[in-house]
């Protein structure tokens, strides 16, 4: 009885001091994990809100432009050249194609890039200086004005 229980209690004592490093490592990890679970989710929500707002605002801007252009075409079908009308239609298709409810869809950046390109081409032809102030330009240098 004594022979078998002593080694056990000795083992237990030594075990806990030998595994001190491992125990504390685990404790620290668990603490950090739990903490970050909370703050990470919060941060993710903030980023999601911000990105969602920016994307939504830009898409809304394009929607508005397309709606005005379409109204103009309804009033006078000849107000724009056939090429411009076609481009507006293509832009509208792109807009409808944007996966608004699925942010993890990999095509989001491609569709957005195509949208921006079409928008610039249409504006250039119509000779209008419409500019969406939100999105980053490759030449941006803190020149955003409202």
């Amino acid at each position: 009885m004594a022979a078998s229980s002593e080694p056990n209690s000795r083992e237990d004592i030594f075990d806990s001091s030998l595994n001190l490093e491992e125990t504390h490592l685990k404790e620290g990890y668990n603490e950090g994990y739990a903490d970050d679970l909370v703050s990470g989710e919060e941060e993710g929500r903030q980023v999601g809100l911000k990105t969602g707002f920016e994307v939504g605002e830009e898409l809304g801007f394009y929607r508005g432009c397309i709606d005005v252009w379409n109204s103009a075409i309804r009033v006078d079908s000849n107000c724009f050249s056939s090429r411009v009308v076609r481009s507006i239609k293509q832009m509208e298709e792109l807009l409808n194609k944007y996966p608004i409810s699925n942010p993890e869809d990999e095509s989001v950046s491609d569709v957005m890039d195509s949208l921006r390109l079409k928008f610039r081409a249409i504006c250039a032809t119509l000779n209008v200086k419409l500019e969406y102030n939100g999105y980053p330009k490759s030449s941006d240098g803190g020149n955003i004005q409202f």
Partner: protein
């Protein structure tokens, strides 16, 4: 007798002074300089103006006939006459391309093409003068259609280059567009019917291409060969099958023919293939070299 056997000499005829800053580019006006029509030249400069020079039939010297100013707000980087000579397009660091028309004794800016986000580097008219291409530091190439009344419509905005696009050039007889860039590649763009332009070929390092910025490209008279020059100190000759190009269906792939190296020891900024088959190159080593093909190619 091939050109290689003759000896050529470049003789300076005149120095034209007038610009207040560096002159970036010059362009001869088409259909001038022969048959009694005095030669006309356009030059564009860092002084934000473009000057038009005309050769006097009696003295043979060039005089400045017009100064195109108060339009561009920054350096005018390059200029190109339309094939008919009626219009002059000027590309500027102010991100716009201006189109000028000769009206009476002066030139009037009849249209301004906006769209590039920053410096426009080069412009090119296609053979028929119906299309105008521009390219710039924003890495994009824009194609515009020329409509009656000097109206311009943007046909397409081409993305693909990953860096500053230095020059665009239309093929001399087909509506195929070539662009070269700081990204070391040359891209070939063709239309798939109905304004659908896309890149049909990229000539990169792997295709025996340049290993540094490609600054310029130029076609021979028949359009089946092309010369390119680069910061990698070489000139490269490329060729394609003429019949396939002209058939227009699918595009004829361009292949590397040869590389001319060891002639310049600084960046070669400019190359041009004359109608008679002489290739001229200009480089940062302050030298202009003339090349001709010898019998064996």
């Amino acid at each position: 007798m091939s050109l290689v056997d003759e000896s050529f000499e470049l003789k300076e005829l005149q120095v034209l002074e007038g610009h207040a800053d560096r002159v970036w580019s010059v362009a001869w006006k088409p259909a001038t300089g022969f048959d009694g029509v005095p030669a006309v030249l356009a030059s564009c400069s860092g002084d934000k103006t473009v000057r038009v020079w005309e050769q006097s039939p009696s003295s043979g010297s060039f005089q400045c006939k017009a100064v195109l100013e108060e339009t561009h707000t920054r350096t005018v980087r390059s200029c190109a006459w339309s094939p008919s000579g009626k219009l002059l397009a000027t590309a500027s660091f102010d991100a716009t391309t201006a189109v000028w028309e000769h009206v009476g004794d002066d030139y009037e800016c009849v249209s301004t093409l906006e769209g590039h986000e920053n410096e426009v580097k080069s412009i090119s008219w296609n053979a028929s003068g119906s299309l105008l291409a521009t390219c710039g530091r924003d890495k994009s190439v824009w194609i515009w259609e020329v409509l009656p009344g000097n109206e311009f419509e943007c046909v397409s905005v081409l993305q693909g280059h990953t860096q500053d696009v230095k020059m665009v050039q239309w093929h001399p007889n087909m509506d195929i567009l070539f662009s070269c860039s700081y990204d070391n590649t040359i891209k070939v763009w063709a239309e798939d019917g109905d304004d659908d332009w896309h890149c049909v070929q990229t000539l990169a390092e792997a295709n025996n291409g340049h290993t540094s910025t490609v600054w310029a490209l130029s076609f021979n008279a028949t359009g089946d060969k092309m010369a390119t020059c680069s910061d990698d100190l070489t000139l490269k000759i490329w060729g394609s099958d003429l019949l396939t190009i002209q058939s227009g269906n699918g595009s004829a792939p361009w292949k590397h023919i040869c590389t001319l190296s060891g002639y310049h020891d600084r960046t070669i900024f400019s190359v041009h293939w004359s109608r008679e088959g002489i290739i001229a190159s200009g480089a940062a080593d302050d030298a202009i070299r003339l090349f001709a093909e010898d019998g064996d190619g």
